[in-house]
Amino acid sequence: MVIYKKPLQFIIAALFSVMPIIANANPTVDSVATTTEQTAKENVSEEQKKVEERAEFIQHHLLDSHGFTLFSYGEKENEHHVGFPLPVILWDEGLHIFSSSEFKHDTAIVESKGKYFKIEHGIVYSCDKNGVVDHQAHTNPLKRPLDFSITKNVFMILVVGLLMFLLFGGLAKSYKKNNGIAKGVGRFFEPIVIFVRDEIAIPNIGEKHYKKYMSHLLSVFFFIWFLNMFGLTPLGVNVTGNIAITAALAIITYLITNISANKNYWGHIFWMPGVPPIMRIVLAPIELLGTIIKPFSLTIRLYANMVAGHIVLMSIIAMMYTFNNVAGSGFSFVLAFVLSILEILVAGLQAYIFTMLTALYFGSACEEHHHEEAHH
């Protein structure tokens, strides 16, 4: 217990000792004051441009994209992107399928079956020959082509789905082969599966009903956890930081809760037992609204946590370019390193909390009557 605390203390001490160096190492204050107003203005605009560039870079990282770019190098005109294209599947009065490499990193106009398409800020628009987009399409999604593309996020979902299928399929098989003892990588995942069962499912749902919900709880837990962890790798994916995906997960939870709910659950929503009749009428719409707010808060929590984590991490990495010296870069490296460790914790914690709350909602849906009696 003592050993693991020491490096942390060391890192904190190192951080504080580096701080004054950074303040001294920045010569900008004096030099800018002596230059003429003209150059000062230029400096500001140059600096402003750089800040905007970084903000755009971070924004770009958070968005979904039609191709998979691993990294880029070079300056503006001769910038090279290393990655691989993904299929673009569009429905615009007919099916259009082509490779995302034809967009040439969102700069080119693609012609497919007499229709023209271009990408602006990660969204595909249909346009005319010269690349002019109908201005209504920017505000009205119905004017855009329907986009079923295998984007970066969809690709990562498929990868994680396949990974989970192979991992847990293998784990299940190894039980059969090995007389009920897990083998290989399954030995790592078995305690986590048992943790989900014993610490999340059984306490919240109860011994009697937990089994039918286990498949969903385990899928959601590992799906979110794996995607959160992939988000921390240099692959640059941000799947759980996409509100559509967290919303889809929450809607599945909502549907399962309400479809499997028993009489007792609906009784508590529309005709709350144990309160005066007038209050029951007042409580019914509030409780009904509550069922919708629950999945909504699930959505927002996971999405906001992951987006906030990514923004903070990338901002700290971008600080290297702001400081532009050895001490500052070292400072932001150490800070980013410590924060990455925190993010690993958050990745697991968010998966845990999402699963835990899902189990809590399932528990309320299949609660027996005698449980409630104790509360009154």
Binding site: R301, A304, L349
Partner: protein, 65 residues
Amino acid sequence: MGTIPNLVGAGLIVIGAGLGIGKIGGSAMDAIARQPEASGKIQTAMLIAAALIEGIGFAAFFMGK
């Protein structure tokens, strides 16, 4: 960027959420100090309560933005 009332409102809610989570954490610490053997259960309850408040805080943050 939202309008100033939006930002102020979001800020107030975030302050409230921060105070709430702080209080939950403090109470959980007290409870664990009193009953160290129940620390697992207390931690779970603490995380659920903190997560519920955090959801509101984030919602306010994104609406204000």
